[in-house]
């Protein structure tokens, strides 16, 4: 009986081709688009030299050290060594001001006693100029100190040691993988797809509730325990959504090469828990909101959008804002929990985080199920 119902429910769901198509195609297409949008960011080294103006006055010409420093990072010699940082225009103060106003240069430098920088606003290019100037000033200070303290210093040694930049840093990965903020988008997309399992849950409630469809009324009259029937329905809904999520996972990991940290059994577990959360979420909405297919779908879409947003699907920093300003919102957000579980697998060595999230999700599943059960248990209706 259970199997009979399960198989038929599965048939019914799979043959709703339009819904299958869209629930399957939307995460695939979005994953592809995410991938396209981010692929360039990850290797955004495409650095182009910064345009900078320098006020050509007597003080500049007198500061030979500065001119030498500039020459080492601009012009043809620097370009040949791939060290070209700046494209410099030597101009008058007024010209520099005009160039800056028309956004032709990122900033200009003038020397009056000290080296000064003028910029319109802050930004990456402006920071590069400032970094260079600070560095020059600090190095100058070091050289001056050394020369004044040790006038006998070997000039060659001094120049070499100043010019030689040693690397004192070694990067040490923190966890399983080097954390890549872009994966947050993909994980929250999977989480959103899991929650879209709610559509199937919704459909199942409608199909079994006597006051929501004629089929439901008819089924209520069969000599079978309603909860048994419903369990079969839920299993069917979970099966089909799991299928969709599996396709999505395969696509992401084999075609888009998104890393999941590679602990397969745990990945399957989180997908399953996430999908069940989604399906019970749908049954919950469908049993609480009595009428109007449109309204139910509206609520499902609306809530899912807000939750995905808070989980960082549209703006990855949102996740951190929520976590720092209102951490409870992170826990009350199943999409966030699912996405975090993936992230925990990918990023942490231990399973603590992962299982904490799974536990919260199970809490959601139990909550949704109890409420659904309370509503479904009522088998007689005031009106049909």
């Amino acid at each position: 009986m259970f199997l009979h119902n399960y198989i038929y429910r599965l048939k019914c769901l799979i043959r709703d081709k339009e819904t299958v198509f869209w629930t399957m195609i939307f995460p695939l297409v979005l994953a592809t688009l995410f991938y396209m949008a981010f692929s360039n960011i990850a290797n955004f080294e495409g650095f182009s030299p910064v345009k900078v103006g320098i006020v050509d006055n007597q003080e500049l010409q007198e500061n030979t050290n500065f001119l030498r420093a500039l020459a080492s990072v601009s012009g043809e010699t620097a370009a040949a060594d791939d060290r070209e940082l700046f494209i410099i225009s030597y101009v008058s103060r007024a010209e520099a001001e005009a160039l800056l106003q028309s956004n032709k240069i990122s900033g200009y430098i003038y020397i009056e006693e000290d080296i000064n920088l003028v910029v319109k606003h802050t930004g990456i290019n402006q920071s590069i100029i400032k970094g260079f100037l600070d560095d020059f000033k600090q190095t100058t200070s070091t050289v001056m100190t050394i020369v004044s303290r040790n006038p006998m210093v070997d000039q060659g040694l001094l120049i070499n040691t100043i010019a030689e930049r040693r690397e004192y840093l070694k990067e040490q990965p923190i966890g399983m993988e080097n954390p890549d903020p872009m994966v947050v988008y993909f994980y929250s997309l999977i989480a959103m797809a899991c929650l879209y399992g709610g559509f199937w849950g919704m459909k199942e409630v409608t199909a079994i509730q006597a006051n929501q469809s004629p089929q439901g009324a008819r089924i209520s009259l069969a000599p079978a325990h309603k909860m048994k029937l419903f369990l079969a329905s839920m299993l069917a809904a979970t099966t089909i959504q799991m299928g969709i999520i599996s396709v999505l996972l395969l696509y992401m990991s084999f075609v888009l090469k998104i890393s999941f940290g590679g602990r397969l059994s745990y990945i399957i577990l989180i997908c399953l828990v996430g999908t069940i959360t989604g399906v019970t979420f749908g049954t919950f909405i469908s049993s609480v909101v009595k009428r109007g297919e449109g309204l139910k779908i509206g609520i499902l879409i609306g809530v899912t959008q807000i939750l995905s947003f808070l989980a960082g699907m549209m703006y990855d920093k949102m996740k951190y804002i929520v976590n720092t300003k209102a951490p409870i919102l992170g826990i009350l957000n199943p999409i966030n929990l699912i996405a975090d579980s993936f992230y925990a697998l990918y990023y942490y060595d231990s399973y603590n985080k992962f299982f904490t999230n799974i536990a919260y999700l199970c809490g959601f599943i139990i909550g949704f199920s109890i409420i659904t059960y309370m509503v479904l248990r009522r088998q007689k209706y005031g009106s049909i």
Binding site: L117, D134, T139, I146, Y196, Y315
Partner: protein, 388 residues
């Protein structure tokens, strides 16, 4: 105008649903525009980065000096040295950078060797490059003193390095940072609005069109003496009214958030641009509404079209970060041209005919989309009638 009236009756029947969409997407737009921090803002760094400093070495002068330097130029947060705690700290951005001083580091430095500090950070974060530079600069300066002044005392060495590194050049900032941030936030609100409007229009128009396209109802409608052309015209009119209302509701928050700014040339340009985008979004929604048959499919379609086009068109990820292939693909969506215009408008200070030309050209492109999609919808409707 029977169909037009019926259109609004169907709308009002579904008002709760439509309101859900409108409210959700407006609140997303407002939330995002308010929390958005423009890329590169943190990069003119006198803002201090939260870091964790862990020492496995002895408490040497060098280590103390390094810590003192970091205390001045960053915020050292106190997190115990356990892998998971540190992972958490990075994950929740309590700290953005972790530096560990290995055992024997100071001794190595004094011997003129190049021992290495262990650093951990989220790779693409801008603070990483900043902190890397800061630490390397410190150590290289230390090295310079040691190689040239071998007999210097450690305390003196640390003091000299600290003095050197305090040197900073003065910077004149012409624009107010606040104004700049506001400017970017406004542009962001309007960019994000393309997602909201697109999603609401697809969901709203589909909700209604699915009702009108139900086979029984459609057949019944075809039997009425109202000409099909008129019928469709009335439905299109209904959709236009709905789209205009949506647009009004969507731009309303911009008046609340930005007040008088909306009445400046810039504000008006944003408004006109978004109105033109609304028209294109509507005609795409109308096409989709005539293709879809079930409400379950609707959300999938809305997500793919609205969210997808927003992602590749630079609503969420700034356009300049997108690869050229992506931009080429994105140029087949009106969103791309809309965002492009918004970005141009945002960067404008004077409004010359020459400067505005690309904006108006983009508007023409967007209108072209509207016409193309609407004709496709019309062809589809006509063809269906024949085949049925």
């Amino acid at each position: 105008m029977v169909a037009y009236k019926a259109f609004f009756k169907v709308i009002s029947k579904n008002l709760t649903v439509l309101m859900i969409y409108v409210v959700v997407f407006i609140s997303l737009a407002m939330a995002l525009a308010n929390t958005y921090s423009p890329a590169g803002e943190a990069s003119f760094i006198d803002a201090k980065v939260n870091i964790v400093f862990i020492n496995y070495d002895e408490e040497t002068e060098i280590v103390r000096g390094l810590r003192g330097y970091l205390e001045k130029n960053a915020n050292i947060v106190d997190i115990s040295d356990e892998t998971e705690k540190l992972q958490d700290a990075l994950f929740f951005k309590e700290a953005e950078y972790i530096v560990k001083v290995p055992k024997g580091f100071s001794e190595g430095i004094l011997m003129g060797e190049t021992p290495q500090l262990e650093s951990t950070a989220i790779p693409t974060s801008p603070s990483r490059v900043y902190m890397d530079n800061m630490l390397n600069k410190y150590m290289n300066t230390v090295k310079a003193y040691i190689t040239t002044m071998g007999d210097i005392s450690h305390a003196e060495l640390v003091r000299l390095v600290a003095t050197d590194l305090e040197e900073k050049i003065p910077v004149d900032l012409i624009d107010s940072q606040l104004e700049l941030a506001n400017n970017q936030k406004r542009a962001y609100y309007f960019n994000f609005m393309s997602y909201s409007i697109f999603a609401v229009l697809i969901l709203g128009v589909c909700t209604v069109m699915i009702v009108f396209n139900k086979p029984d109802l459609k057949k019944r409608n075809l039997c009425t003496p109202v000409k099909i052309k008129h019928m469709n015209l009335q439905l299109v009119l209904g959709n236009i009214s709905f789209a205009l209302l949506t647009w009004l509701v969507m731009v309303l928050p911009s008046f609340i958030l930005y007040g008088g700014f909306m009445f400046t040339t810039k504000g008006l340009l944003y408004l006109v641009n978004s109105l033109i985008f609304t028209i294109a979004a509507l005609s795409i929604s109308y096409l989709v509404g005539n293709i879809l048959k079930s409400r379950n499919a609707m959300s999938g379609a809305a997500n793919v079209i609205a969210l997808g086009s927003s992602f590749i068109s630079g609503v969420f990820v700034p356009q300049e970060f997108l690869g050229s292939t992506v931009q080429k693909i994105a140029s087949f969506t009106p969103t791309y041209w809309y965002v492009k215009s918004n970005n141009i408008i945002s960067g404008m200070e004077s409004f010359t005919a020459e400067g505005l030309r690309p904006v108006f050209l983009n508007m023409l492109v967007i209108l072209g989309f509207a016409v193309a999609m609407l004709s496709m919808a019309m062809v589809l409707i006509k063809q269906r009638r024949v085949s049925n």
